[in-house]
Amino acid sequence: MTATTATEWEMVVGLEVHCELATATKLFCACRNAFGDEPNTNVCPVCLGLPGSLPVLNRHAVELAMRVGLALHSSVEPSLFHRKNYFYPDMPKDYQVSQYDEPLNVGGWLDLPDGSRVGVTRAHMEEDTGKTTHVGGGGGRIHGADHSLVDYNRAGVPLVEIVSEPDIRSSEQAKAYVNELRAILVAIGASDARMEEGSLRIDANVSLRRPGAEAFGTRAEIKNLNSVRSLGRALEYEVRRQAGRLEAGEPVVQETRHWNEDEGRTSSMRSKEEAYDYRYFPEPDLVPLAPSDEWLAGVRAALPVLPADRRVALAAAAGVAGTDPAVATVVHLGLDDLVLAAVAAGAGGRLALNRAANELAHGAVPDAAAFAGVLRMEGDGRLTATQAKAVLAELVASGGDPEAIAKAKGFEALDGGVVAAAVDAAIAAAPEEWARFVAGEAKVAGFFVGKVMAATAGKADGKAVTALLRERMADR
């Protein structure tokens, strides 16, 4: 199969994201919800599913799940818990308490930085399973293992499963969706969304169809995607695999496939025929969950401004397009308030965005007034770009007044006459290069800028030097 094969097919992807909620305690008991504790220390009769134990719903978990729904523009509705029945050692009760046909959050969408919108089908609550470690043989999977160890600390941790519509059309968009979702979950305090700790886990449904076709192809569900990078790689692999089959006249089989990160490929786990019959039925140990209007209004009122709305506000204030990459970066870094303040204090929007996105990506954030001051000095031509970055670095490291820092660094703007004299001297010293510049070889300007910089110990403004060169050429 060739690389062009895949481009003749349209990728159709829907994602199921499992997100552990950042509650203090588990979904149905008072055990600690914490990652990394000694195995089987955060357990009790309820989360171990001991005979006679009963679940009691954690109100804070419901509240966080409602926040997720509201952030995804879902409708928060009266809902029911169901039992999803299947046998597995990491499930203490051999059923999982989940939501089925009456989920808490129905519908919604997610706006991505590139301007696209991905629909959300539902975001429902459920309990996490324990964590199984398969020891010896079997390559970490249960079949062929010598024995297995189960840690029930994770059993009963509250989850929200966010199911997207099959609206995603590229691996880049899939990765952007997950990154945006993570940003939202963190912003609303619903989850730490750490994929490396398993608090965010992704399954992908992938199918192919010819561009322009309406009907979906047969899909495969890919599991074990443990990072955003794995997601991208697995989707690219799966597209090539499915395209290869389709072009060879073989059907894509509806099945669940396992992503092997080391081998960089997916392999079949179980087919549709082997799929579990989960025998869902309403969980009789819990009562229906119907959040009151007051509760819902309170949760809505406490919701912070979401990344997509922050991007819109920032782009408008900075006078750039909403899809501008620097806008997304600044919001992602949480520097939008700083940039908005700088713009309000007279700094240029584009300059403020770029400096924030590129110079403040790591480390401390400068004082807002000082940040605005540096940008104004650069905007006024009193500092060169290089100088402005140096002042900014100093501000971030030690704080202080930008004027004073510039002065201490000797960054006072040069007298126009000094620069002009240096330009004239450079032209006189290099007639050959001057002739090429005059003949239209624009890149030779860099040669003269370098000479002038050297002559002025880097204090000249590159743009001013280029302007002078043009002037001299016109005056010739």
């Binding site: 005979p51 006679g52 009760k93 059923y95």
Partner: protein, 472 residues
């Protein structure tokens, strides 16, 4: 036989020692337990120590509570901290719960002395206590006959004087039916009135813990102790329960009582005759009694055997050998599950797990589980209609008196019919009480059942007490 009310009064007053009370009951156990097998476990040493502690507190001027020194037997599906809780199943072999069920904690806190864990049909599935992995319990009135079930051990323990009171669980009649067959009082409270926390589940939407007692007053005493909100049970009614003991003398003057026509169909004449006698007695006591039709109750049995088995198939999944109880090794985890469950569960439990699994399976859910839920709704509506005109309903508890051991074990459907009169209350979530009302052929006890709308326990107890007085 001294009543629980009298025991508690005397022990609290220092007029009788709890130790003396418990010795009296333990000697009854020593006399007939080998014959009757009411208990899976007799806690003689613990009971003596508990009684001594009650006596010490009384001597110190403390009040041990409303059940001071009263010997209580617990059905073996109620979790007891550190004490084996088997559900009469091999699959829970060796398991000791790390906690007390809420009802167990409440009776202990009220000063009761726990004398043992009683035999039952495995996981409460049965109507004769013959489905116990540890052998059947026998009826104290005629040891060749069953005590009823599934709480047969608790009913027999009270009837034989092994305990003054007992707790059982009622999913489809498992308290009322054995109470009737053993000649004691048995109460199935409103669903949610008594906490299920620590009751090993059979069918969660139907299970309810309730008392066995030698008298209506004793049953009220125990119900008053165990009833009331429990935050550990999400289905628990979130408000205080009214006292049933306080209303026993209030009489039935002016109460409207309907005798359920459908539940008299197919009932042995000697049982039906006692229901008629009870109706006449209540009428004579001032109630207005007449026959009433509650047609949808005829749907109850089939709906029950879909819903209860469906829930059971899920509730009993956890007994897989991975974490506690029996484990039979297998080549892989699936084989271990299969071998453990094959060896650990009895035939009736396996039958119901298979029925319930089938009822929930893709493609069958709506025809079975969905249909049964709709039938349940119809039954609730039919009761609502009846209770618009009547305060209480009257019915038989069981179609027959106690039957001989082995008489119905070959035919599960015949056995299931034993619960035809009791199941409707479970499906509706309503309370009902079984009150002994005379004897049939061979001196076998006959009970009559008083049914009430949700949370109308006090009205129900007024009628039960009046019925009991009418026999005196």
């Amino acid at each position: 036989m001294t009543s629980a009310v009298d025991i508690a009064r005397d022990v609290r007053a220092g007029a009788r020692s709890a130790r003396d009370v418990v010795e009296t009951h333990l000697s009854a156990v020593a006399g007939r337990e080998a014959e009757l097998h009411a208990f899976n476990l007799v806690l003689a040493d613990e009971a003596r120590a508990g009684a001594d502690e009650i006596d010490r507190r009384v001597a110190a001027g403390e009040d041990p509570g409303p059940l001071a020194g009263v010997p209580v037997a617990l059905k073996d599906n109620l979790c007891t901290r550190g004490i084996p809780t088997t559900c009469s199943s091999r699959i829970l072999e060796g398991w000791r719960p790390p906690y007390d069920a809420t009802v167990v904690a409440r009776v202990r806190a009220a000063g009761a002395v726990v004398v043992g864990k009683t035999n039952m049909d495995e996981f409460a599935m049965g109507s004769s206590t013959e489905n116990s992995a540890f052998g059947p319990t026998r009826n104290p009135h005629d040891p060749s006959r069953v005590p009823g079930g599934s709480s047969g051990g608790s009913a027999a323990a009270v009837a034989a004087g092994f305990a003054s009171l007992a707790l059982g669980s009622d999913t489809g009649g498992s308290i009322r039916q054995p109470a009737a067959l053993c000649g004691v009082v048995g109460v199935k409270p409103t669903y949610g009135l008594v906490s299920r926390y620590g009751l090993v589940a059979f069918a969660s939407s139907l299970d309810q813990v309730g008392p066995f007692a030698g008298s209506v007053a004793d049953a009220a005493l125990l119900l008053d102790v165990i009833a009331g909100h429990d935050p550990a049970d999400s289905t628990s009614v979130p408000r205080p329960a009214p006292s049933c003991s306080a209303v026993l003398g209030d009489g039935v003057e002016g109460l409207r009582i309907g005798v359920v026509r459908e539940l008299l169909e197919g009932i042995d004449p000697e049982v039906a005759a006692r229901v008629s006698a009870a109706a006449a007695a209540l009428d004579a006591a001032g109630a207005k009694v007449e026959e009433v039709g509650v047609p949808a109750t005829t749907l109850a049995l089939s709906a029950y055997y879909v819903l209860a088995t469906a829930e059971a198939s899920s509730n009993l999944a956890r007994y897989d050998g991975a974490r506690y109880g029996l484990r039979v090794a297998g080549d892989d985890v699936t084989a271990m599950y299969g071998a453990t469950r094959a060896a650990g569960f009895g035939a009736e439990v396996k039958r119901r797990i298979m029925l319930g699994t089938y009822a929930l399976s893709a493609g069958y859910y709506d025809a079975y589980y969905g249909q049964a839920q709709r039938a349940r709704t119809l039954i609730i509506r039919a009761f609502d209609v009846a209770y618009a005109s009547y305060d209480l309903l009257l019915a038989p508890v069981t179609p027959t008196t106690a039957f001989p051991l082995g008489a119905k074990t070959a035919d599960p459907l015949t056995m299931y019919l034993s619960d035809v009169c009791t199941i409707p209350s479970n499906l509706a979530g309503h309370p009902a009480i079984s009150v002994p009302y005379g004897l049939g052929a061979g001196g076998l006890p006959i009970g009559v059942q008083i049914l009430a709308p949700a949370l109308a326990e006090t009205t129900m107890f007024r009628a039960a007490a009046a019925l009991e007085r009418s026999l005196a």
